[in-house]
């Protein structure tokens, strides 16, 4: 069990890391807040399972955060799929039929908002591992070695994931006439 004061120190050290990671995955402030909350609840509850010899605290928190983000996205996808059925059984519900989160990333300046939103739309379509590699390396600026530790894989595998992500993004961001839809 972690002491309250120790947990608060840990929270103040890593809150921005977790919150920003949530933003990169969801591009929505409310969703990122929910993810941050769940991550730190898990950190509090599972702190006794943390083994300093196996990984650094930062890597451990990163792993929990990445898994929480992926679980959150999976749950949102399921909710969308069954949203219609739910609305049939509870027609008085005030929830929208499809909980489609709009692009709301406070870290993106208005100048680049359109291009970044377009790029994120393509990133969101990437397979889970490729998406994680892109977010951690290209947005978070982590080294490939660090990302390999977080993803519990090898450096070569991360390199390969990034390479495939690049190829996939290139295809997704190119229209049928061969022109890039995305202009920097």
């Amino acid at each position: 069990m972690i002491a309250d004061s120790q947990f608060e120190t840990l929270y103040s050290n890593y809150k921005n890391l977790v919150y920003n990671l949530g933003l990169h995955y969801t591009q929505n402030t409310l969703d990122a807040q929910d993810i941050t909350q769940e991550v730190f609840v898990k950190v509090f509850q599972r702190y006794h399972t943390y083994q300093p010899a196996a990984a650094s605290l930062k890597t451990w928190i990163y792993r929990i955060a990445v898994n929480q983000c992926l679980d959150f996205l999976k749950a949102r996808k399921t909710k969308r799929r069954f949203g219609f059925m739910t609305s049939l059984f509870s027609p008085r519900s005030n929830e929208p039929l499809q909980d489609i989160a709009h692009f709301d990333h406070p870290g993106v300046t208005a100048e680049y908002k359109e291009e970044t939103a377009l790029l994120f739309r393509a990133i969101n379509e990437l397979p889970v591992n490729q998406r994680t590699a892109v977010i951690l390396v290209k947005i978070e600026g982590r080294s490939q070695k660090e990302v390999a530790e977080i993803m519990n894989t090898g450096v070569k595998a991360v390199e390969s994931l990034l390479q495939r992500a690049r190829q996939n993004l290139s295809k997704k961001l190119t229209n049928p006439k061969g022109k890039h839809l995305f202009i920097v």
């Binding site: 608060e8 929270y11 809150k15 921005n16 977790v18 919150y19 920003n20 933003l23 990169h24 807040q33 941050t36 909350q37 730190f40 609840v41 509090f44 509850q45 990333h105 406070p106 870290g107 993106v108 300046t109 680049y112 291009e115 970044t116 790029l119 892109v134 290209k138 947005i139 600026g141 690049r166 190829q167 993004l169 290139s170 961001l173 890039h180 995305f182 202009i183 920097v184």
Partner: protein
């Protein structure tokens, strides 16, 4: 345009501070139990339903024993004067 150029725009994303109220929310969440314990009424309800289903299954199995099925078949064969043998001609 190179894909790396596309990635470059991601580097322009600024780090954002987590909202200050989050810690209060987290403490509330930690001190609130996840799920309410199942009430005794529900437990009894599930147990009785399970028992009823089990009894019903046993009753159905006992009612349709193989011996009874054969005797019913025999009575049907005799009432319709059907031959219960494979030989078609009385040889």
């Amino acid at each position: 345009m190179d894909t790396d150029d596309q990635f470059d725009i991601l580097k322009k994303i600024r780090e954002v501070d987590a909202p200050p109220f989050l810690l209060t929310r987290i403490w509330e969440r930690i001190h609130t139990p996840d799920d309410e314990p199942v009430s005794v009424q529900w437990k009894w309800g599930f147990a009785l339903t399970g028992l009823a289903v089990l009894v019903l299954n046993i009753a159905i199995v006992l009612k349709t024993t193989p011996g009874q099925t054969i005797s019913q078949l025999d009575s049907l064969v005799s009432s319709l004067h059907l031959s219960s043998q494979n030989s078609l001609y009385d040889e």
